[in-house]
């Protein structure tokens, strides 16, 4: 369908320019915090708290050094007695009268985040796709009630059930485990996944599967070879929404994880406490934390756009 079919009045050059200006303005405003975080991550600690704030500064990766290491304060004599620094991080740490004691917990926490977010996204999308297909194609008894029940799990903020879940998890031994967090985020996301994907699968004519089944395929084969390839847009869009939720989730992570299964969101603020207010390290953690979602979203941006406008545009 051509663009003209959607709009009766063609936009004039002037209105296009105004629309463009508004979009640019909005983009700039919303990117200021992002820019601030990234800039701060490359500042030295003194630069990061300088007033007025420095827009021009000498970039340093000290924040990143501090993010990935733990350091201990030493006397100047001890530091002078050490062999020459092996790398930039050694050097910059010694300048602050400290030595690197070992790696920090950031990397394992970041890996936890990756495992839990991607794991729960996979589970939610997998379950959601199958459930949506079932609701879309079969006569499920009480289908409308079940769908409403699934939707109703999103009618309150998830944190409203935090205390029961905390107690349940403690009893079940799921506190502070990756499995527990994957289950939790899957449970929250699966309702979104079922509803979004049902919309997409409803739009795939069932003749495709029928054709495949007549041509000698089982229903499962037809689902895999004919339905899934056509549902990729919906699956990708759903996966992004689920991933963003699971990746950003703070409240449950702070409540239910403290050690081995802790994710990055509750960990990053704890960096502040270690040896003064180390803003560059916090900013560095946040910057790295942004990367996976950024990459995932850029990879799937076309699908995401269609996911947001789904239903509005017909193929």
């Amino acid at each position: 369908m051509s663009a003209a079919a959607h709009s009766v009045v063609e936009p004039t050059p002037a209105s296009k320019r105004i629309a463009g200006a508004i979009i640019i303005l909005y983009a700039v405003v919303s990117m200021v915090p992002l820019f601030w975080i990234i800039a701060t991550s490359f500042k030295t600690p003194p630069d990061s708290i300088a007033y007025p704030p420095k827009l021009v500064f000498t970039p340093s990766i000290e924040g990143y050094c501090n993010l990935f290491t733990t350091r201990t304060r030493q006397t100047a004599e001890y530091i002078a007695s050490l062999p020459p620094p092996e790398n930039f991080c050694d050097e910059v740490t010694r300048k602050r009268n400290m030595v690197i004691a070992g790696p920090s917990n950031f990397l394992p926490r970041f890996v936890n985040s990756l495992i839990i977010a991607f794991g729960s996204t996979f589970c939610a999308v997998f379950l959601g796709t199958l459930a949506a297909y079932g609701f879309s194609r079969f006569k499920v008894p009480l289908a409308d009630d079940l769908l409403f029940f699934i939707l109703s799990t999103r009618m309150m903020p998830p944190i409203a059930v935090a205390i029961p879940i905390y107690l349940m998890y403690r009893e079940l031994g799921l506190s502070d485990t990756a499995l527990g967090m994957i289950l939790l985020y899957t449970a929250v996301n699966v309702s979104l996944a079922v509803w979004l994907l049902k919309g997409f699968i409803d739009e795939i004519p069932r003749e495709y599967e029928e054709a495949a089944m007549i041509d000698g395929y089982t229903r499962l084969q037809a689902f895999r070879k004919v339905v899934l390839p056509q549902a990729t847009t919906g699956i990708a869009a759903t996966a992004i929404f689920c991933l963003i939720f699971a990746w950003n989730e703070y409240a449950f992570a702070a409540l239910l994880t403290s050690g081995t299964a802790q994710t990055a969101p509750p960990f990053i603020p704890t960096i502040i406490g270690e040896g003064g207010q180390d803003w560059p390290a916090v900013a560095a953690g946040t910057t790295i934390f942004l990367v996976p979602i950024l990459v995932f979203t850029i990879l799937l941006r076309k699908q995401l756009l269609r996911g947001i406008t789904f239903g509005a545009v017909r193929k």
């Binding site: 003749e207 495709y208 029928e210 054709a211 007549i214 041509d215 000698g216």
Partner: protein, 365 residues
């Protein structure tokens, strides 16, 4: 290739009966058309033959084998859908080859068969194109290719030309029939378009409200409609009906309608007095001033070689198809002469045709 036999087939959806007790046999290599208005049960019947719906009761035999409860993939049939159902994520070659892929056919063999099929349908130049860019007719050919590549026992087609524009439809009707003449595959074709049905079918079943009203060749259905529904559904304009109330006796050759005596084919059954109708096709009327059947011209519709003249009678409008040269004034009084040998008599209550010398009567099949 195989014969299709449908016995006492019935399908209910909850309280709605989509198909009531259908019986018919499609001979090996026949082109069979199920014709009827939308919602008459023709597509449901087709889907039961395909195995996409299971019947409530009754039997379906393919080549003598009972397949009633078998899965679609175990029936060895091919189905052409109204919207083609070409897989959008595959190109033409993969679409046509898809049914072979699951049968363990070697890649080289799939390639050979796909190319042979494409040549048969004259789409071999399109094999590596995406299906989304194809024109309607070519999509139709790809859908046909996917159906015939496997050489199934029979083809089932659900209004496959329904979405094409008129001009293209005529071409595809011709192509489909030509294809059928070449490969002689048993075909069940569903349509609501009587012209398609007449042009292609060896046998037609006319369906209405889940019931097969008549089963027969296109000529039988046109010339000797078994019910008033069939008479009305087939033909453009449809058959004219003039109502009368009378009893009929075996051997009688005359009825009274519009106050005039009209000769009819010899009646072959006795009937108690009932509401009846005299049925005749527009082309079986001549204008004859001497005829006692009178009416006045209501309007004319010019069709080139012929014209349709609507005549208002005391019992409603009658349409006559006559040569285009004759001209009439609206309001002019005319006499109608009917072609005796081609007249049908119907019982209005049940709609069935009375048994006469013209046809054997309208026992529902």
């Amino acid at each position: 290739m195989a014969e299709i036999r449908v016995e006492n087939l019935r399908k209910e959806f909850g309280t709605f009966t989509a198909v009531q007790n259908s019986n018919f046999v499609v001979g090996d290599g026949e082109f069979f058309v199920m014709l009827g208005p939308s919602g008459c049960g023709k597509t449901t019947t087709l889907r039961m033959i395909a195995g996409l719906e299971l019947p409530t009761s009754g039997k379906i035999l393919l080549g003598g084998e009972d397949v009633t409860m078998r899965r679609a993939r175990e029936r060895d049939i091919a189905f052409v859908f109204q919207l083609f159902a070409l897989y959008p994520h595959m190109n033409v070659r993969k679409n046509i080859g898809f049914p072979l892929l699951t049968q363990g056919v070697s890649k080289a063999e799939i390639r050979r068969q796909v190319e042979e099929t494409a040549r048969l349908l004259r789409i071999d130049h399109l094999l590596d194109r995406a299906v989304s860019g194809l024109a309607g007719g070519d999509r139709q050919r790809v859908a046909l290719g996917r159906a015939i590549v496997r050489r199934p026992k029979c083809f089932l087609m659900d209004e496959p030309l329904g979405t094409l524009d008129t001009e293209f439809r005529d071409l595809m009707v011709h192509e489909l029939r030509e294809l059928h003449n070449r490969i002689h595959a048993t075909t069940v074709y569903v349509t609501h378009d009587q012209l398609e049905a007449m042009a292609m079918a060896d046998k037609i079943a006319v369906m209405n409200h889940g019931v097969i009203e008549q089963f027969g060749t296109p000529q039988e259905i046109y010339d000797r409609p078994a019910t008033m529904f069939v008479a009305d559904f087939i033909g453009s304009p449809p058959m004219n009906f003039l109502p009368f109330h009378a009893g009929l006796a075996r051997g009688s050759r005359e009825i009274t309608v519009l106050g005039a005596r009209v000769a009819v084919p010899e009646v072959r059954e006795d009937m108690a007095p009932a509401d009846m109708a005299l049925g005749f096709r527009p082309e079986h009327i001549r204008f004859d001033d001497a005829s006692p059947l009178r009416g006045s011209v209501y309007g004319t519709e010019y069709l080139g070689t012929t014209q349709i003249v609507a005549v208002e009678t005391a019992q409603g409008i009658v349409k006559a198809r006559i040569p285009a040269e004759q001209s009439f004034q609206v309001g002019e009084s005319v006499g109608l002469a009917l072609n005796t040998a081609r007249l049908s008599l119907f019982e209005r209550g049940s709609g069935r045709a009375v048994s006469t010398a013209l046809h054997g009567g309208g026992a529902r099949v």
